[in-house]
């Protein structure tokens, strides 16, 4: 039975939808009290995100003269929101519909989902860490009337501040690996060649993730959220480097109950460096036989006009709703999950 049919039969299953709306309204309250403006940026764009590991959906359409255009559905509203920072908006947020191909229909993924993004000009990722702690605490207080959350039987204390650990420390603490010494692909590969989860890969990021997922993630404390910060630069294309020669960038991720909830950084403001990184990603996309995505020159132009030092974050809104409502599978949250549509 489809979810909308279930709701028709059993009125209590409508409750989830009432609560989702309540969460969204509370998010708007939270940001408007802090002086943020809610933005609406396009879903259909000419240049999608360049991230080599994402597959945006292509759209072909025509104007009134029957001339054909090719565009993409956004995987994140980030490029547009950054242009608005350059335009002079200081504190902005958006709940944007985003689309990603080649992901599963259900579990923690759905082809279409909502990205809650917010940006602060004249700021950095540390301020964003505080925002996300306060937001989740505030929402849970209003939805579950408590300082903690119970998710799938696990009690999670949400009172800020949350535990924080650098990715470098997490690797040394839980996997006994000094990431500083693993910057070279060959050394890294040699180090883990006897692990049963490692088949073979020539991608530094794959090896990084295989270790992270098999040896670190499951050992992270679960009774509180955790913020992991300062990721390798190769996984932070739009983030500011820690310092000129650093291997790491000012990026953080939020995990709650093992669920990756949000990804944030201090924004890269250097147009030349950004162009170089986009080029590199374009080449990597080609190598991985992914679709060609033009570089968003408009964004580079915006950076040339000067983006103030800024912090920004992308948070999977449905995952947050799942956490707050104790729902394990996104197919039980959405009224029309992709699995029931296609």
């Amino acid at each position: 039975m489809k979810n909308w049919e279930k709701m028709r039969q059993n009125s209590s299953s409508k409750e989830i939808q009432f609560k989702r709306i309540k969460i969204n309204n509370l998010i708007r309250d939270f940001f408007s009290k802090k002086g943020f403006l809610e933005m609406q940026t396009p879903t259909l764009v000419k240049c999608a995100g360049q991230e080599p590991y994402l597959t945006p959906m292509e759209v072909k359409f025509k104007n009134e003269k029957n001339e054909e255009y090719k565009g993409f559905l956004i995987t994140s509203p980030e490029y547009s929101l950054k242009k608005l920072l350059v335009a002079g908006f200081k504190k902005i947020f958006e709940m944007a519909r985003v689309f990603r191909s080649n992901e599963s229909f259900g579990g923690t993924h759905n082809s279409e989902f909502t990205m809650l993004e917010w940006y602060r000009a004249d700021s950095n990722y540390q301020k964003i860490m505080k925002d996300v702690e306060q937001l989740v605490f505030f929402l849970n207080k209003n939805i579950n009337h408590s300082n903690y959350l119970i998710y799938q039987g696990q009690k999670i204390e949400l009172t800020p501040p949350w535990p924080k650990i650098t990715i470098k420390k997490a690797f040394s603490k839980y996997a006994n690996i000094n990431l500083d010494k693993m910057q070279n692909l060959k050394t890294f590969k040699r180090h883990i060649k006897n692990k049963s989860y490692f088949m073979d890969s020539d991608d530094w990021n794959d090896i990084f993730y295989l270790i992270f997922l098999n040896e670190i993630e499951s050992r992270l404390p679960k009774d509180k959220p955790i913020i992991i910060y300062d990721y390798p630069l190769s996984q932070a294309s739009l983030a500011k480097r820690k310092n000129k020669k650093s291997f790491y960038a000012e990026r953080f991720e939020v995990y709650i109950a093992g669920l990756e909830l949000a990804n944030a950084f201090s924004e890269l403001t250097d147009p030349k460096e950004q162009y170089k990184r986009f080029k590199k990603e374009q080449i990597l996309r080609k190598k991985m036989k992914k679709s060609f995505i033009p570089i968003d020159k408009d964004l580079i132009h915006a950076l040339e006009l000067k983006l103030p030092p800024s912090g920004g974050i992308a948070l999977g809104l449905e995952r947050l709703q799942m956490l707050l409502l104790n729902i394990k599978d996104i197919n039980d949250l959405l009224p029309f999950p992709a699995k029931q549509l296609f």
Binding site: Y53, S201, Q235
Partner: protein, 187 residues
């Protein structure tokens, strides 16, 4: 070869020459790296469970297993003997490998044998079995030193801890994975 995207619950794959059954699998993509597949695997030789994450589209050798129903007949000093249901063939299994399961089996209890390449790899027995208590000391009120438990002997010879109210002749339900008393079954 089978790819992670074709994983189904119950298929058996080979990792480092060991047969692992896929108990659970989930796709996920962190966005900053390739897509991955989280799995829960059970080594069907040893019964050991592990959680592993593989890169999506990783290829594995799939192992074809065959499952045959059999009933338990008896054990002697060396072997436990089973009877295959479809052809009445008698199958002796060495006591040392079968014993930890046989202690839950009465005569004629049904089991499932897993074959890989004609060789028996494992035996599946029901998760819960009902067994009769053949010896039980009387339960005394106020005997809390053992947490309100006492040791009883079951018809298969197995000894387990039960609550004090269990008496000789009762039927008790046992979890064969934990070896623990679950409840008193209806006679």
């Amino acid at each position: 070869m089978i790819s992670t995207t074709e994983f189904k619950k119950g298929i058996i794959i080979e990792i480092e020459s060991q047969p692992w059954m896929v108990m659970d699998h989930q796709f996920f993509s962190p966005g900053k790296g390739s897509a991955f597949t989280r799995t829960k695997l059970k080594n069907i030789k040893t019964g050991k469970f592990v959680e592993r994450v593989f890169k999506s589209n990783e290829q594995f050798e799939e192992i074809e297993a065959e499952y045959k129903k059999a009933v338990y007949l008896y054990s002697d000093r060396k072997n436990s003997v089973f009877l295959l249901k479809d052809n009445n063939q008698r199958i002796p299994l060495p006591l040392e490998s079968a014993q930890d399961k046989v202690i839950y089996l009465k005569q004629n209890s049904e089991v499932e044998l897993t074959y890989i390449d004609e060789e028996i790899i494992s035996m599946n027995i029901p998760i819960k079995v009902d067994l009769k208590v053949i010896e039980a000391p009387p339960g005394f009120k106020g005997n809390t030193a053992t947490g309100g438990l006492k040791k009883v002997k079951l018809e298969t010879g197995l000894e387990i801890n039960t609550p004090l109210f269990i008496r000789e002749g009762d039927i008790v339900r046992i979890n064969t994975e934990t070896g623990e008393y679950v409840e008193k079954a209806n006679n």
